[in-house]
């Protein structure tokens, strides 16, 4: 199979990290701003704070952590996940200490936590790096800790949970969208590039190699026995090359769908002719692989048992919601029973393995065979 152009996908891929990186740096600036804001708020309510010494300690810790986070998120660190967990833990501790350090009276007056809005940065970082779901969970945790340490059901308390969880989810979704569009763009680039390259190669090969091979086929037999051998070698190579040029694999519409025509075209050789319609027939890759496996099996059987002179024809038809694949050869043929007897003798007969596979696809297989008249398969497979 020719190598395919693939794109690395998912959040873990280097490309995704490269895209998420600037987002995390933006978050660092948000964190610094909210840190300054928290310092200002706490300076204003300084005189009413229950434990000013502890507040100073907490503020120093918050400033230090802000600096650490800025450094950590400014480069793609290999152990970022552990830092994310630490980030959440720090946010939880600072939020949880709100009531003890500020004093219940001061805190319950306006429910502005010790780090004020600074704590949202940790869930946002999680959402950016890990996606919407984990972002939402982290947001709910950081918002919910106030509810845990402060008894009572003041609306503002549970509103923290809702707002933080939604923000986490929102940023996560935004990241997903960005990554998605980037992947889509990369796929389009890769596709355009490979199609262009294929066309270029097509022209070169068509202008030279194919023509020479075809000429060798034509003129070879006139040059005696060695010429005949040359001609048959040229024919073999020519049909392989032609299949490669026709390979339409590079124009995949989506990852999980393939053109079954392109797949079957690969069987084309000097002894096998593949006929199909001009349009592409898109099926799920699972179906395509199974169908291709069945056709390969039948054709292998032809090359093993039909005799050296045998030729085979593959016909693909698309009728309504059904694919009809016919594989016929003009070889020695067989007695219809022989195709099943192999199974009884302990080998898996071609008939059984073909029938089994086709049954799994919800289709039907029919085989006609007679001694001296080749074997004629008809496979019918339902498709969307």
């Amino acid at each position: 199979m020719p190598p395919r152009v693939t794109c690395t996908t998912g959040r873990e891929s280097p490309a995704s990290q490269l895209l998420l990186w600037p987002l995390l740096r933006v978050l660092s600036w948000l964190r610094i701003s909210l840190c300054l804001h928290a310092l200002a708020v706490n300076a204003v309510r300084w005189k009413e704070v229950a434990h000013p010494g502890l507040l100073v300690g907490a503020m120093i810790w918050m400033v230090t952590w802000t600096a650490l986070a800025a450094v950590s998120y400014s480069r793609p660190a290999p152990r970022r996940r552990s830092f994310l967990v630490a980030d959440i833990v720090v946010a939880l501790v600072l939020m949880g200490l709100s009531s003890p350090i500020l004093g219940a009276g001061l805190f319950t007056r306006d429910y502005l936590a010790l780090p004020v809005y600074w704590a949202i940065c940790a869930p946002l970082a999680v959402a950016t790096a890990e996606g919407a779901f984990r972002g939402a969970i982290a947001g709910a945790l950081v918002g919910g800790i106030l509810e845990v340490v402060t008894p009572g059901f003041a609306p503002i308390l549970w509103s923290w949970v809702v707002v933080y969880a939604l923000l986490g989810a929102g940023i996560g979704v935004l990241g997903n969208l960005l990554l998605g569009s980037m992947e889509e763009r990369d796929r389009a680039f890769a596709q355009t590039a490979s199609v262009g390259e294929r066309e270029r190669l097509n022209r070169i090969v068509h202008d030279g190699v194919l023509q020479v091979l075809a000429l060798m086929e034509r003129e070879g037999p006139g040059l005696g026995p060695r010429g005949v051998t040359l001609a048959s070698l040229a024919r073999e190579q020519e049909s392989r090359l032609r299949v490669m040029l026709q390979d339409r694999d590079v124009v995949l519409p989506k990852n999980d769908e393939v053109d079954i025509t392109a797949m079957l075209d690969r069987h084309e050789s000097s002894t096998i002719t593949v006929s199909a319609m001009a349009e592409r027939v898109i099926v799920s890759s699972h179906q395509a692989l199974e169908i291709d496996a069945v056709v390969t099996e039948i054709l292998t059987n032809v090359s093993k048992h039909a005799g050296p002179e045998a030729r085979a024809w593959v016909l693909l038809e698309h009728e309504g919601r059904e694919l009809i694949i016919s594989v016929r050869d003009n070889g020695r043929g067989a007695h219809p029973d022989d195709l099943t007897k192999a199974g009884e003798r302990g080998h898996v007969g071609v008939r059984d393995s073909v029938l089994g596979r086709i049954r799994d696809l919800g289709g039907q297989a029919r085989v006609r065979a007679a001694p001296g008249r080749g074997v004629d398969w008809e496979l019918r497979i339902p498709v969307e």
Partner: protein
């Protein structure tokens, strides 16, 4: 050039060695090569000047491509017989040439005998139906039928017998074998194949006309 009164043939191929090989073979069997061309432009100019009976057309030639040349020439000279030959069988191009009225399609890897026979049959006005072409035409009729069903009208339909014949051709059976299996004469099989091609080409002309009329109407509406 020989002075026989065999069919007048024109060869179009961008490869001189192909033209040499093929014209040698054809002349040895009584055909007259009246012109050769290696680009689309040349092909159009020389075909208009020499009016060959048979045109052997390579699909991959410099602008305009073989399928387009076939379309243009058959519109001007409907009586011309075109045999399409190609090194890499791009199904879309082959179908386009066939719908425009080409008589058949062969790959360049066909044996010299097959090529010769193909040109001979084309000169006689017969269809040159290879298994690959049969599969292509079968698929095209299916597509037209389902398209027509979407627009609630009846498209061109193959008779059961025609489908049976076409499927057997696509599965590599010789006319003789098909005739035996369906209990008909060799000639009947040939007629069916011929009919299918005519139906396809006729439908193509009807579609083109309808398209032209539609375009005309919308032009009037705007003007």
């Amino acid at each position: 050039m020989t002075d026989t009164d065999g069919p007048r043939v024109m060869l179009v191929d961008d490869h001189p060695m192909w033209i040499d090989a093929l014209s040698g073979d054809l002349e040895a069997h009584g055909f007259r090569i009246v012109a050769t061309a290696s680009t689309g432009d040349e092909a159009l100019r020389r075909a208009r000047a020499t009016r060959p009976e048979v045109m052997v057309m390579d699909l991959q030639i410099p602008d305009p491509d073989g399928a387009t040349c076939t379309e243009i020439l058959l519109k001007e000279f409907p009586e011309m017989h075109v045999l399409v030959i190609s090194a890499s069988g791009e199904r879309d191009d082959v179908l386009r040439a066939i719908k425009a009225g080409a008589k058949g399609y062969l790959v360049k890897s066909a044996t010299p005998e097959e090529l010769l026979e193909g040109v001979r049959r084309t000169a006689d006005g017969d269809a040159v139906f290879t298994p690959g072409l049969a599969g292509l035409v079968l698929g095209e009729f299916r597509r037209m039928v389902s398209d027509a069903a979407k627009h609630n009208d009846s498209g061109p339909i193959l008779t059961t017998r025609e489908t049976e014949v076409l499927r057997r051709v696509a599965k590599g059976m010789a006319y003789r074998e098909i005739a035996d299996e369906l209990y008909v004469s060799h000639r009947t099989v040939q007629n069916h194949v011929q009919n299918v091609l005519r139906k396809l080409q006729l439908h193509n002309r009807v579609e083109l006309t309808l398209y032209a009329i539609e375009q005309g109407y919308s032009g009037d509406a705007q003007g």
